[in-house]
C-alpha cells in the first residue's frame, strides 16, 4: 500500500485567502481616510459635474469643464485628430481647459512592452503628473486608455502599500511636489459619454444611416474594472456603456458582432517589434468578424493602441485578399464630425490608413472639397503666410 504524502503536498501548497465577494470596493472612503491622516491630498472634482453609474453601482463624478488634458503620446504623435477633436468638442461646447506642457507620457506603453521600469518609477511618473495638474487648479482628464488603466493600478497600489507611498513621497519631495491623487480618474470617453446629450444638441450631421461596430478598450474596462461606466440603458448594463452610449445618442446604427470582448491585438511590444501577431489578431479576430457579421461603415474605439492597431493592420491583410477594409477612428473624431468639424483640419483623417472616404460620403461630407481646403491651408503654411493653424481657423 502506498501512502500518499498529503502532508508533504500540503506544505508545498500556498494558502490563499480572499474575500468571497469579488466586487471591487468603493475606493473613495480609503482615499479620504488617507487624506485625513495627512498621507496625501485629494484633488476634488470641480463643482460642475455629471454623476454617472459605474460597474458595481458606485457613482462617478465627471467634471464638465476646467480640465487638465493629460495627453496621449500615441494620439498626439500618430493620430493627432484624436486629441484635436477632444479639444474642439470642449471649445464648441464652451468648456474651459488647460493643455499643459508640464506633462509627460504615463510611460505605461513602454512598461507593458519591455518592463524596463519598476513599480516606484511608474507610480512617481503618475503622481508627478497629478501634482502638476493640482498645481494649476485644473482637473486631470486622461486621454489614453492605457494611462487611465495604469493610473488606476497606481492608485490601488499607493493606497494599499505604505512603503510605496513613502518611497514615492520621497521622490516627489525632491521635485518639490506634493503627493496628490484626484478624487476620480476620468477617461475622455467617460467625459464624452457624460456629455452625450449636449453633444447631440449640437449635432449638425445626420448619422442615422451609419453602421457602427464598437471595440471597447481592454485597459479601460478590464484593468481595475470597478471604475468603468456601466449604464442600465446600454447593453442592459452588462457591458461598458462608453462609446456605444455616445454613438447611439448620435443616432448611429450600432451593430453587434461576436468578438466584442476580444482585445485588438496591440500587445504593446508586439505592435513595435512583433507585428505579425498584432496584424493577425486584429484582422482575424476583430475586423474580419465585424465585416462578416455586421458590415459596419466605421469601427469606433476609445484608446490609442486600438485605433492604431485596427486601422494600420488592414493594409497587409488587404494585400492578401482578406475581408477587411473599414475605417477606424475614435468616438471623439466621430462626435466632432457629427458636430460639424472639418474632417481634415480638425479630425485629421489623412493620418489614418483604412479608406474613410466612402464613410464621409455617407455622412454627407464632400471630402474632395474638404481635402482641397486642407491643401489650401497647407499652402499658406508652406508660403509662411502664417506659422500655424489656429482654433479660430477651425471655428472654435
Amino acid at each position: 500500500m502506498t501512502t500518499v504524502p498529503v502532508e508533504m503536498i500540503k506544505t508545498k501548497k500556498e494558502r490563499f485567502d480572499r474575500v468571497p465577494d469579488r466586487r471591487s470596493a468603493d475606493f473613495h472612503e480609503e482615499l479620504f481616510r488617507l487624506e485625513d491622516a495627512g498621507e496625501l491630498i485629494v484633488q476634488r472634482v470641480p463643482e460642475d459635474f455629471v454623476a454617472v453609474p459605474t460597474k458595481y453601482g458606485v457613482t462617478k463624478k465627471i467634471p464638465r469643464g476646467h480640465l487638465w488634458h493629460h495627453k496621449s503620446c500615441g494620439q498626439c504623435g500618430h493620430i493627432p485628430g484624436y486629441s484635436t477633436s477632444i479639444y474642439w468638442i470642449m471649445r464648441k461646447l464652451g468648456y474651459d481647459y488647460h493643455d499643459p506642457r508640464d506633462q509627460t507620457s504615463c510611460t505605461a506603453w513602454n512598461y507593458y512592452a519591455s518592463a524596463t521600469s519598476n513599480q516606484a518609477a511608474q507610480a512617481a511618473v503618475a503622481l508627478r503628473n497629478f501634482a502638476a495638474a493640482y498645481e494649476t487648479g485644473y482637473f486631470p482628464l486622461i486621454h489614453c486608455g492605457t494611462s487611465y488603466g495604469h493610473y488606476k493600478e497606481v492608485r490601488a497600489e499607493i493606497m494599499r502599500h505604505p512603503e510605496l507611498r513613502a518611497q514615492v513621497r520621497k521622490v516627489l519631495e525632491k521635485l518639490g511636489k506634493p503627493l496628490v491623487m484626484p478624487e476620480e480618474i476620468v477617461h475622455y470617453s467617460e467625459y464624452l459619454y457624460a456629455l452625450r446629450d449636449e453633444i447631440k444638441q449640437n449635432q449638425v450631421r445626420d448619422f442615422s444611416g451609419i453602421g457602427v461596430t464598437v471595440h471597447p478598450a481592454c485597459h479601460y474596462y478590464k484593468l481595475v474594472e470597478g471604475d468603468a461606466i456601466y449604464d442600465p440603458d446600454v447593453y442592459q448594463g452588462q457591458r461598458t456603456a462608453v462609446v456605444t452610449g455616445l454613438a447611439t445618442a448620435l443616432g448611429a446604427d450600432v451593430r453587434e458582432y461576436s468578438t466584442w470582448f476580444d482585445c485588438c491585438g496591440f500587445g504593446f511590444r508586439h505592435i513595435l517589434v512583433q507585428r505579425d501577431f498584432t496584424r493577425s489578431f486584429a484582422t482575424m479576430r476583430k475586423i474580419e468578424v465585424m465585416k462578416e457579421e455586421a458590415n459596419p461603415d466605421v469601427v469606433l474605439t476609445h484608446d490609442t493602441g486600438c485605433v492604431t492597431t485596427l486601422d494600420k493592420s488592414q493594409f497587409a491583410a488587404q494585400a492578401h485578399g482578406r475581408n477587411v477594409g473599414v475605417p477606424v477612428m475614435s468616438e471623439a473624431q466621430f462626435a466632432a464630425l457629427a458636430m460639424g468639424a472639418h474632417p481634415f483640419r480638425v479630425c485629421q483623417l489623412h493620418w489614418h490608413s483604412a479608406n474613410y472616404r466612402p464613410l464621409l460620403e455617407k455622412m454627407g461630407i464632400d471630402w474632395e472639397k474638404a481635402w482641397a481646403e486642407f491643401q489650401d491651408e497647407v499652402g499658406r503654411l508652406e508660403r509662411n503666410e502664417k506659422e500655424f493653424s489656429t482654433w479660430e481657423d477651425v471655428g472654435v
Binding site: Q103, A124, S353
Partner: protein, 239 residues
C-alpha cells in the same frame, strides 16, 4: 523502473532553446518574483478553469497560456516558472483580459513582475525580447513622450500602407496645421517643458529605473546616463 514525475508542461531546456542554470539561481530569481509587493495581490490560487485562456489573445497565436502562469506561480514550480521567464512571458499582450478570472487572479500582472525580474537580472530572454527596442526606451526616458511623429517612417512600418509615407513626407507642415499649440512638434508627441523633463530624469535616477537598462543594454544605459547627468548638472541639481 524510472518514475516520471516531471511536470508534463515542462520542456527540457534544450527544447525550449535556452541555457540551463543551477537550481539555486532559479530559486533566487523566483524568490525575487514572489517578493514583489504586488505578487500576492495578483494570485489567489487557481481553479484550472481556463477562463483566462479563452479570453487571452496571445493564447490564440502562441504556445502560451495564462492558466499555466497562474498554476506554476501557485505551486511555486520553480522549474516551470524559470522556463516561462525564458520565453512565455514575452508573448503576453498585457491586455489584462485574464482579469476575468473567477478566482481574482491577475496572470498578466504576474507576467509584468516576472518580466521585471528578467530585465533586472539581464536574462537572455529579456535581452532578446528587447532587441530592436532600444530606440523606444531612449525616446521615452530621454524625451518624456514615448511616441513621436517622426517615428512614422515608411521603412519602419512598411506594412502600414502608403499613408505612412504621405505623413512622413509632409510631417513638418502637417504638424503646423494642427490647431493645438502643444502639437507642433515632430520629435516628441507634444511640447514638453524643460523643467518637466528634468523632473522625469530625477524619477528615473531616484527609483533605479535607469539602472535596470544597464542589465539589458549597456550602450543605451551609458548614453541615457550621460544625457541625464549632463542636463541635471546644467541645472545645478545635485543628487
Amino acid at each position: 523502473m524510472a518514475t516520471i514525475t516531471m511536470d508534463p508542461y515542462y520542456k527540457a531546456p534544450k527544447v525550449a532553446g535556452f541555457a540551463d542554470v543551477p537550481g539555486e539561481e532559479k530559486e533566487r530569481l523566483i524568490a525575487e518574483v514572489v517578493a514583489d509587493p504586488r505578487f500576492h495581490d495578483y494570485l489567489y490560487g487557481c481553479y484550472e478553469c481556463g477562463i483566462c485562456v479563452a479570453a487571452c489573445p496571445s493564447a490564440r497565436f502562441y504556445d502560451f497560456s495564462p492558466r499555466l502562469i497562474a498554476q506554476a506561480a501557485a505551486r511555486r514550480d520553480v522549474e516551470l516558472m524559470f522556463q516561462q521567464m525564458q520565453e512565455d512571458i514575452w508573448e503576453c499582450s498585457q491586455c489584462f483580459s485574464c482579469l476575468r478570472c473567477p478566482r481574482g487572479n491577475n496572470p498578466g500582472g504576474i507576467i509584468t513582475v516576472m518580466r521585471e525580474v528578467a530585465v533586472n537580472n539581464g536574462l537572455a530572454s529579456a535581452r532578446e525580447a528587447l532587441e530592436g527596442y532600444s530606440r523606444i526606451i531612449y525616446k521615452i526616458m530621454s524625451t518624456g513622450t514615448q511616441v513621436s511623429p517622426d517615428m512614422l517612417q515608411p521603412d519602419a512600418f512598411p506594412d502600414w500602407g502608403p499613408e505612412v509615407a504621405d505623413v512622413s513626407e509632409s510631417l513638418a507642415l502637417w504638424r503646423r496645421a494642427l490647431p493645438p499649440e502643444t502639437h507642433h512638434t515632430t520629435t516628441t508627441g507634444w511640447a514638453v517643458a524643460d523643467r518637466t523633463l528634468i523632473e522625469l530624469y530625477l524619477i528615473w535616477l531616484e527609483t533605479g529605473a535607469l539602472d535596470m537598462i544597464s542589465q539589458v543594454d549597456e550602450g543605451l544605459h551609458m548614453i541615457l546616463e550621460e544625457v541625464m547627468e549632463e542636463r541635471l548638472e546644467e541645472e545645478g541639481i545635485e543628487r
